[in-house]
Amino acid sequence: MSRTKGDEEEYWNSSKFKAFTFDDEDDELSQLKESKRAVNSLRDFVDDDDDDDLERVSWSGEPVGSISWTIKETTSNSGSTHEGREQKNRNSFYTQLSKPASTYSLSSFFKGRTRLGSFQSLSDALSDPPAKSYAPELGRPKGEYRDYSNDWSLSDTVQRLRKGKVCSLERFRSLQDKLQLLEEAVSMHDGNVITAVLIFLKRTLSKEILFRELEVRQVALRHLIHFLKEIGDHKLLLDLFRFLDRTEELALSHYREHLNIQDPEKRKEFLKTCIGLPFSAEDSAHIQDHYTLLERQIIIEANDRHLESAGQTEIFRKHPRKASILNMPLVTTLFYSCFYHYAEAEGTFSSPINLKKTFKIPDKQYVLTALAARAKLRAWHDVDALFTTKNWLGYTKKRAPIGFHRVVEILHKNNAPVQILQEYVNLVEDVDTKLNLATKFKCHDVVIDTYRDLKDRQQLVAYRSKVDKGSAEEEKIDAILISSQIRWKN
């Protein structure tokens, strides 16, 4: 104990802590702002404040949220007018509520037997000087960690800790004492006390012994893990997981660290250290992909930033990048590469096909993303090519792994012209879906042709009223309606 205390004293006396000085932000204006912001953020008080009379006020006719209410709210911030009213109400409120209940106070339940004794700061500790003598000087020890009595029993010690009094644990020297102390703390269920004892054990026991003993004390173990996470002692945490053979947690908690690394290069290097850690089989593949993706993004980003600033490349001139591609998800990256690097050969890192292969992106996902990107650029030829397949006889055929109804929706979202939409609506197989989409997106020709093919005269007549008067569509409908070739079903 003495050793530690000596160190402590020395530490305090030689303390290098200085009052920080920050750039002057304390001109009048910013102070006002600060105060106002704080008061505003405490609107709840003010509201509630109003609440005191709000009940009455609102029953007397001012709905919450009315202008007068808002003004009231504002004046209550500035004070004076409000105060009188407040006072009045408060009085009636106290008379109402000074029933027996109000004589209770929480402190009287938990803070010791007598009310006077409920004074719970350190001055409460035996033989400590009274509070007043603690001049609030900066950075000076107050001797508060001095424990004048060394005779606290084990359970007394824990009780004292629990009441928030600091007392020294140093005299629990033997391993057995320390473990008993821990068990007493655990049986109390008070996380605060358990943590305090764990801090002591962590400082005074070797890692191996600490881990070994905690392995058989699960509650304490969980608190230690939580504590280590909280103080950010990742090294010890990883050691602990390794010792406990909780390998997946070990891997994940190491991996988690990358979230706190901003610099892309450093983040990439860190992710590299995650590869090969004992993740589950599926996660291993994902972690590998995460690393590869960031590696790619760094290359693409450097390259594209250069291209963009050089101003020679049309696509970047026409469509300046909105944000960097770093740390974006895979699908977003694919979209980006379909947008800026669509025609590139498979050999380049930024080509969509390369991404598709490297990350084994399923066809469906690929087509969806490419479609969205090319439609956004209004590159209808590319869209067309996306769905054109040649069979072995050399005939071309349109196929969409995502279903043409989805194609239509995406095209519409990107404001494709009616001619284009029409082409794909026609490819929808299910007649009802086709009619629905065609009607929704005003592909008149498709609707008219479909009704004709269905020989549904009634619907066609009904649709006639929906097209513009004198338009080509109307003419087309009229021509069909008088045609003698069709045997209408109704």
Binding site: F45, D52, E62, F119, I231
Partner: protein, 596 residues
């Protein structure tokens, strides 16, 4: 005042008054003028128990939000930090204290930890060299905050994560302390029931604390007959589904915080002649929602489909009342009319507000996507197609709908299938990681650990057994005039509330088999009362049950419990307590990993 807290079966104003008194006591300890520096998170919960005026009476002259560098100037004797015991806040406090100007007037520093002191935090302050600067370092046990006449919450966002992911008992300890406070104010609760691991631990802590406080016999006549402790992980399903009560939908769509909601202002512009649409408000409209508002108390727990008719009925009544003025002929009649005017105007304002809110909600609930989502949820809950990849979920991912929405649905499917087939689970995981980012591996791992998204083990799906035994799915639901709690989800009866209902009648013995399938032990404890305090129930008098949701509760569940309380032959009235008022979105959010 908070009169609405005293309208319920149990007068929760007593609790509010006790915590207010505690606050005054602390403030008076720091003699002289004061400035409070607030941990911003605390201002919401504090707003429910104290007003600025209370602080002012105790010489609080200035208030600031806690942030780095130097404290704003304030000519006060005391600076008091009101903070949660979190390490990162200690760093800020230290920064504040260290940058105090030494040559300026000496000021006294104090810290009030809410709800508990933390040795870890004090250690951090010590490491930073400022611990000695504080005269008072105390704790303010604001464990349970009264929200309404029948509702208490600890508003601890991280409680579920701590309890079920990290197995950290700290929030359970606070729950137990909160329950001890309640017993100190409302008498010992003679019977404790519970289901779940955490429930068991809280009961153990309570019993132990009671032994330690035997110094003074509690001589208060017990108000509560029973306490039911329920683990959230006993019912992981309910919060995932979209709540369909009025209050539930407001929370789902706009988020209710500390009983306030912020709404888009457009619908609330007062219509006046000659305004010409100028000065449209840009700031969100903030409304307080609780039973102090008569109309809200009537409609909040109804299925949203039943709200419209109440509002229109109410509108007719109010119009008729205003029409009365034509009939008022004599001076007496006119006087009477005028005396009612304020009440009528308040009612009209309230009606206008809720009509606007209902319109806003209707815009959402009538959208195609909302309908599709609801259809999928209801299929899952009634046991249809839970074992294969769902088209709608696939579409949501492809269209990059919000990740939390996707996770809610996937988790719902997993829970309704007692875990997903490995192939299905891997497919979803892959799609999610590729679309939303690989770092969500961490979130998926958390969800798995919490039991929300996991592979099926043993190839057995227990959900159908649970569903049938507890009658979780009701085909003939009446949304307008409900006869069963399933109205709150238009067909699905919340599992948690069904457990409470069955406990009160006919008792849990009837469902032993299901209780064994659900996680954690179920138990019963008795706390003996001295003979003088034993209650003799009058015939027809209802029991009062305090039901404590460890890990959070939704507004729809609260609505279902209120429905049970109001049943004429129900026999039980409920007071609800929880670690956090939540919905599926805030819940999943609390389980996501973010950079520190």
């Amino acid at each position: 005042m908070a009169a609405h807290l005293s309208y319920g079966r149990v007068n929760l104003n007593v609790l509010r008054e006790a915590v207010r008194r505690e606050l005054r006591e602390f403030l008076d300890k720091c003699a002289g003028s004061k400035a409070i520096v607030w941990d911003e998170y605390l201002t919401g919960p504090f707003g429910l128990i104290a007003q600025y005026s209370l602080l002012k009476e105790h010489e609080v002259e200035k208030m600031f939000t806690l942030k780095g560098s130097r404290l704003p100037a304030a000519d006060v004797k005391n600076i008091i930090f009101f903070v949660r015991p979190r390490l990162e806040l200690m760093d800020i406090i230290a920064e504040n204290v260290l940058s105090e100007d030494r040559r300026g007037p000496a000021r006294d520093f104090h810290i009030l930890f809410v709800p508990r002191r933390s040795l870890l935090c004090e250690q951090r302050l010590k490491d930073l060299g400022v611990l000695g600067s504080f005269i008072h370092r105390e704790e303010y046990s604001l464990d349970l905050i009264p929200f309404d006449g029948d509702l208490l919450s600890m508003e601890s966002e991280s409680a579920f994560k701590e309890c079920y992911l990290e197995s950290d008992q700290t929030s359970l300890y606070h729950a137990a302390k909160g329950l001890m406070t309640l017993q100190a104010l409302y008498g010992t609760i003679p019977q404790i029931f519970g289901k779940g691991e955490c429930a068991r631990q809280v009961a153990n802590m309570m019993i132990r604390m009671k032994r330690e406080f035997t110094g003074s016999q509690n001589s208060i006549f017990p108000v509560f007959d029973n306490l039911l402790l329920l683990d959230r992980n006993v019912d992981l399903l309910t919060p995932l589904a979209t709540q369909l009560t009025y209050e539930g939908l407001i929370d789902e769509i706009y988020g209710i915080q500390n009983s306030y909601v912020k709404l888009p202002p457009e619908k609330f512009t007062p219509k006046k002649q000659g305004d010409g649409g100028k000065d449209l408000p840009t700031e969100a409209k903030k409304l307080q929602l609780n039973s102090a508002e008569e109309l809200y108390a009537e409609i909040r727990d109804k299925n949203f489909n039943a709200v419209g008719s109440v509002l229109s009925k109410r509108a007719k009544v109010i119009s008729a009342a205003f029409e009365e003025r034509h009939n008022a002929k004599t001076v007496g009649e006119i006087k009477q009319f005028v005396s009612q005017l304020p009440h009528m105007q308040a009612a009209r304002g309230s009606l206008a507000n809720h009509t606007s809110i209902a319109e806003l909600i209707k815009d959402v609930t009538t959208s195609e996507d909302f309908f599709d989502k609801l259809t999928v949820e209801q299929e899952f809950m009634s046991g249809i197609d839970t074992d294969k990849v769902n088209n709608y979920i696939e579409d949501c991912i492809a269209q990059k709908h919000p990740l939390i929405k996707v996770l809610r649905l996937v988790c719902l499917q997993s829970v309704c299938n007692s875990g997903l087939k490995p192939k299905v689970l891997d497919y979803y995981k892959r799609e999610i990681l590729q679309t939303y980012g690989y770092e969500h591996i961490l979130t998926l791992y958390n969800l798995e650990k919490a039991g929300l998204l996991r592979p099926q083990t043993g190839g057995r799906n227990n959900y159908p057994t649970i569903r049938k035994t507890l009658r979780l799915w009701m085909d003939d639901v009446n949304e307008q005039n409900p006869t069963d709690i399933s109205y709150v989800y238009s067909g699905y009866a919340p599992l948690s509330v069904r457990l409470a209902q069955l406990l009160s009648r006919p008792g849990w013995r009837s469902i032993e088999e299901v209780l064994r399938i659900l996680p954690g032990p179920h138990f019963e404890e008795r706390q003996p009362l001295p003979t003088g305090l034993q209650k003799k129930r009058q015939p027809g008098e209802n029991r009062v049950t305090l039901i404590f949701f460890l890990g959070g509760v939704t507004y729809a569940e609260i609505a279902a419990l209120r429905f049970l309380s109001q049943l004429e032959d129900g026999g039980t009235e409920y007071v609800i307590a929880t670690t956090k008022l939540m919905n599926g979105t805030t819940w999943i959010e609390s389980l996501m990993e973010k950079p520190i």
